[in-house]
């Protein structure tokens, strides 16, 4: 009963317009950035190194190397600040949290590409109107 109340509250923020992605995938997140009255979209492309469960669809962390400095962004999946998410590349990883990449540089800090993923059960990423996100809670 009580958990249902919490779930109902969370479902108000649920977004079906985002594609499914996993840890290890390279994604491009469009962030809405407000500058005065204007809202523009900033693209942040990087590797998803962690997905966590929790309210607001849980959070995910995107890591990229910007001017040889590691930059990470962690945001809730159902955040209204997310304009779009595009999956660029599917990665083949054996861990759900890729925190080990923080210690690595250059060629070692790579993730193998998951081959033939488009033929597999995973939904195609390029089109925005992919099938709705599976239940995250």
């Amino acid at each position: 009963m009580d958990s249902q109340i919490l779930r109902d509250l969370d479902n108000e923020y649920k977004r079906d317009d985002l594609p499914e992605f996993k840890t290890g995938d390279t994604i491009e997140v469009g962030f809405k950035i407000r500058e005065g009255d204007k809202v523009r979209v900033q693209k942040f492309r990087g590797l998803c190194i962690s997905k966590k469960k929790g309210p607001l669809g849980g959070t995910f962390t995107v890591r990229k190397i910007s001017f040889s400095v590691g930059v990470e962004k962690t945001i809730p999946l159902y955040s209204p600040l997310i304009d779009s998410i595009k999956v660029i590349r599917r990665g083949k990883v054996r861990k759900s949290k890729l925190y080990y990449l923080r210690q690595l540089q250059g060629k070692k800090a790579r993730v193998k590409e998951l081959r033939d993923w488009e033929q597999q059960a995973a939904p195609s990423s390029s089109s925005p109107e992919t099938k709705p996100e599976e239940k995250s809670l």
Partner: protein, 207 residues
């Protein structure tokens, strides 16, 4: 005690504002409460409303004096009774229902509940003492340290902080902001945490 309601803690979650700001909230199911008794100036020396919350199904378990108190006005038996000093308490009739529409977004509320019982606890957790050094053979890892002086006063002063039962006490958190009121579900969302476990009884008062 100003106007307020009796309720139940549902749990904590996060909600998002339109600007993308995430706010941690506690969901409280408050009311609807029923006016059981009215305290009046002439009779009692003060004005207040006695509200009841949560009906008891097994009425044979209610003590007779309590049963009489409820049956006087043909009301069901309530689990919890609490008095609140409503400024316009004369407007309410006995048997009237008070619900969450009392609160508005942006209100500042006080939430009272019984904190989680932690059992017999050491001083580090109970009083946030520092304990001793962890290494160099100290062996004083979690002890409280000195209790006081020596031959004068030759005793430990009353109220010296020591280990003991921690929690399970009435606690009030002040100035919690009401983020949202869901009148149809009798829910209010309050910013931050409130005392007690989930399903714990709470008293929510307006500031």
């Amino acid at each position: 005690m100003s106007q307020g309601l009796i309720g139940k803690k549902i749990g904590m979650t996060s909600i998002c504002t339109e600007e993308g700001k995430v706010i941690p909230v506690t969901v409280i199911q408050a009311g609807p409460c029923t006016v059981v008794q009215k305290k009046e100036d002439e009779k009692d020396g003060y004005t207040a409303l006695q509200l009841g919350y949560g009906t008891i199904k097994k009425e044979h378990k209610v003590p007779n004096p309590m049963k009489g108190h409820f049956k006087k006005h043909n009301l069901p038996c309530f689990k919890t009774l609490s008095e609140f000093r409503f400024p316009e308490s004369t407007d309410y009739e006995i048997g009237a229902s008070v619900d969450v529409s009392l609160f508005e977004e942006g209100d500042s509320v006080l939430v009272t509940g019984k904190s989680k019982g932690r059992g017999f606890t050491g001083v580090l957790k109970r009083w946030n003492m520092s304990g001793g050094p962890a290494s160099h053979g100290s062996r004083a890892y979690r002890i409280p340290g000195a209790q006081g002086q020596c031959a004068d006063p030759a005793r430990v002063f009353k109220g010296k902080r020591g280990p003991g039962r921690y929690g399970n006490k009435k606690t009030t958190i002040q100035n919690l902001e009401v983020i949202r009121v869901l009148a149809d579900k009798n829910l209010i969302l309050v910013k931050g945490s409130v005392p007690g476990p989930r399903k714990g009884l709470l008293i929510i008062r307006k500031k």
